[in-house]
């Protein structure tokens, strides 16, 4: 036991720290970004053992000039691209107005998805409308891409009398069964194994619908992540498990979640499922990777983990001020650019779009948001109208048990008094 010979070294704790903090200039020098078009596109039934390099690469389609290059280029008609562009622009306009609405006290809370619009919009479009979505709070783009009513979303945000969730949920915690959009939970990660369970059920019943779920980079550390991957792998569940790596979890950079040790896509390797790492600000790449994973799932080849590499350009939520923990201009230096600008550039490069058309689109979606906002405000904003308090006792159980009847009566008595 020769190790005794040397004087033992003192141990020390390594605590990861981002390269730049407030006061520093935003800077991503040294970040290795793969060349667009460089990654091969394997067959969707390729065995996992042949895919173990993918988590360390980055699937990119759009190059710096806006050209789509390489094997991953999806065969998309221009109207699909235009629909995607519009949905992303609408999402952004919605986010802007709703953040303002929060500042004005019309709602208590809001979460923007600025810079991450390609993730939800391209993924929603690459899936079938009857595939089931288990989102986190930052995928409002899924609903918008599925053409859900933004008025309805606003009523939830304003907790007004038309709020389909009857004022029960924190703003942004939508639930839209009509669009196969699962009820969002405030507890991080819980939807991940639920999506796997839903997909298992679909397989048990010999159905054809698959499921998809989204969590953030920070949330990968939760138990639910491990449970979801384990169950999905063991039963080959037809599910797409997405990790939106937007570099931050409130004030913690992705290194605190282990992002400096390995990519999040690499987590998949240990479970024997394919892990794809994708330029999350590249609409085409996100679409193509999602389509690949969906096809794999639909043919009983099981789950895929997709890491969507992107950047949270705005604050975590309206309760947060990122200038306290990261350089104020960091977003501007993000090397993968802005997803809307990049798709716009691509369409212009294709000769199917122009700056003028884009300006008009931005004005149009903003007008759409404003119109819905006026309607929503007419119904009510936080506190001005709301669900009947007695409804609070409904849906705790399917039927109202005696003790809740009595409590409801107590409340109504107290309110009457």
């Amino acid at each position: 036991m020769s190790k005794k010979a040397k004087a033992p070294q003192r141990l020390q704790l390594h605590v990861p720290e981002p390269k730049h903090r407030p006061g520093d200039a935003g800077n991503f020098d040294g970040l290795q970004i793969a060349t667009p078009g460089a990654m091969p596109r394997p067959a969707t039934d390729a065995p996992e053992a042949s895919l173990r390099e993918f988590p360390y690469g980055l699937i990119r389609v759009l190059d710096d000039s806006g050209k789509a290059v390489g094997e991953w280029t999806p065969a998309l008609k221009v109207d699909v691209l235009l629909k995607g562009l519009r949905a992303m622009a609408l999402t952004r306009a919605f986010d802007e107005r709703m953040q303002r609405a929060q500042r004005q006290g019309k709602t208590s809370f809001y979460v923007k998805s600025t810079g991450e619009e390609a993730v939800s919009v391209a993924q929603a479009m690459a899936l079938d409308p009857d595939d089931m979505l288990f989102p986190s709070y930052r995928q409002q783009g899924l609903l918008i891409a599925r053409d859900w009513s933004i008025l309805d979303m606003m009523c939830q945000l304003f907790s007004n009398s038309a709020d389909r969730l009857k004022g029960r949920q924190l703003p942004v915690m939508y639930s839209v069964r009509d669009k196969n959009f699962f009820s969002i939970s405030g507890n991080l990660g819980t939807q991940y194994p639920q999506a796997v369970g839903w997909a298992m059920a679909s397989a048990i019943q010999g159905d054809t619908r698959i499921a998809a779920s989204w969590i953030g980079d920070g949330t990968t550390a939760e138990a639910d992540f491990h449970h979801a991957l384990t169950f999905a792998a063991v039963y080959r569940a037809p599910v797409i498990l997405n990790v939106v790596n937007n570099q931050w979890a409130i004030s913690s950079f992705q290194g605190i979640a282990g992002g400096e040790c390995a990519t999040f896509a690499a987590r998949a390797i240990g479970y024997g499922i394919p892990g794809l790492r994708v330029d999350g600000n590249d609409f085409l790449a996100v679409y193509a990777a999602t389509q690949w994973a969906a096809e794999r799932a639909r043919h009983n080849h099981g789950p895929t983990l997709i890491e969507l590499y992107t950047y949270r350009a705005a604050a975590h939520s309206t309760s947060d001020d990122p200038s306290a923990y990261r350089p104020g201009d960091e977003a501007e230096h993000w090397p993968l650019g802005d997803p809307i600008a990049r798709l716009k550039q691509h369409l212009i490069a294709l000769g199917k779009w122009s700056d003028e058309q884009h300006k008009a689109l931005v004005a149009e979606v903003d007008a759409e948001v404003k119109k819905a906002l006026r309607e929503a405000e007419a119904i009510g904003t936080l506190g001005s109208t709301k669900a009947d308090p007695a409804t609070m006792f409904d849906d705790v159980f399917k039927e109202l048990p005696v003790h809740l009847q009595r409590q409801r009566d107590e409340l109504l008595g107290a309110m009457g008094a």
Partner: protein, 338 residues
Amino acid sequence: MPTMNMIQALNSAMDVMMQRDDKVVIFGEDVGYFGGVFRATANLQKKYGKTRVFDTPIAEGGILGTAIGMGAYGLRPVVEVQFADYIYPAFDQLVSEAARLRHRSAGEFWAPLTVRSPCGGGIFGGQTHSQSPEGIFTHVCGLKTVMPSNPHDAKGLLIAAIEDDDPVIFFEPKRLYNGPFDGHHDRPLKSWAGHPSAEVPDGHYRIELGKASIVRPGQDVTVLCYGTMVHVCLAAAEESGVDAEVIDLRTLLPVDIDAIEASVRRTGRCVIVHEATRTGGYGAELSAIVQEHCFWHLQAPITRVTGWDTPYPHALEWEYFPGPARVVAALKSAMEAA
């Protein structure tokens, strides 16, 4: 009518439900090929196939998480948590998710699942094979909590639980699986054979959730209990000479307030018995309810006879277990108070 022990009755309930409804699926650790460490799911995989009855990874949180997703899809999962002591890793999925899904989605989604889990001590299981955590779950709104005390109720309640559209935690007092147990651990083991509650119909029947059963009518003291303690309380009633009315609550949430009220108003005295630790246990809620609803009828303080506020100790389990002697003492002191 066939005689069944509790395991057979539970197995029969699941068999009946698997047969009637192809949305019922069963999974958990060791429940598939092997049929469960207590054999409650024996033969079900053989009968209904691997995709309806299957083993899972050892991850209670994953079992509950996937069950909720399956429930949202439209299945009726019946999952086993191997021991109630191992339900804690699934706590977040149970409390934050299963219990709240219907409410938070305003009725758009729900989780019609049943969680079966053996609870209670008296088998030298030590602190992690003996717990009765029902008092934690009865505090969580949106969960129903059930604990049967005999084979007949076990089957009827389990069928009702599986058919229920809300999540139900179904605790099975493992000490009762093979026979009734009145706490006299030094006497010979009894089997269910010959016990009236062991006559269990083969087919489908339900025992409505939320309804208690008066297992011994009496005039002097109301005894509120459930699970193994029902048998202990019955023995104590006989041994004490006190004419106790023993109520087997069966469902803890929603509890049968009317039955409790009616009895205590009549007897004016109340003893509450459970195996779980005392402080903050379900007995506290029962005590509070009785006191709120029957204050003017009470002739003596309500007493709780419970496990101590310690982990369930392996070799000292009979000192921990609230056996008949302690219940007898409580009955007598309830009668003496004035």
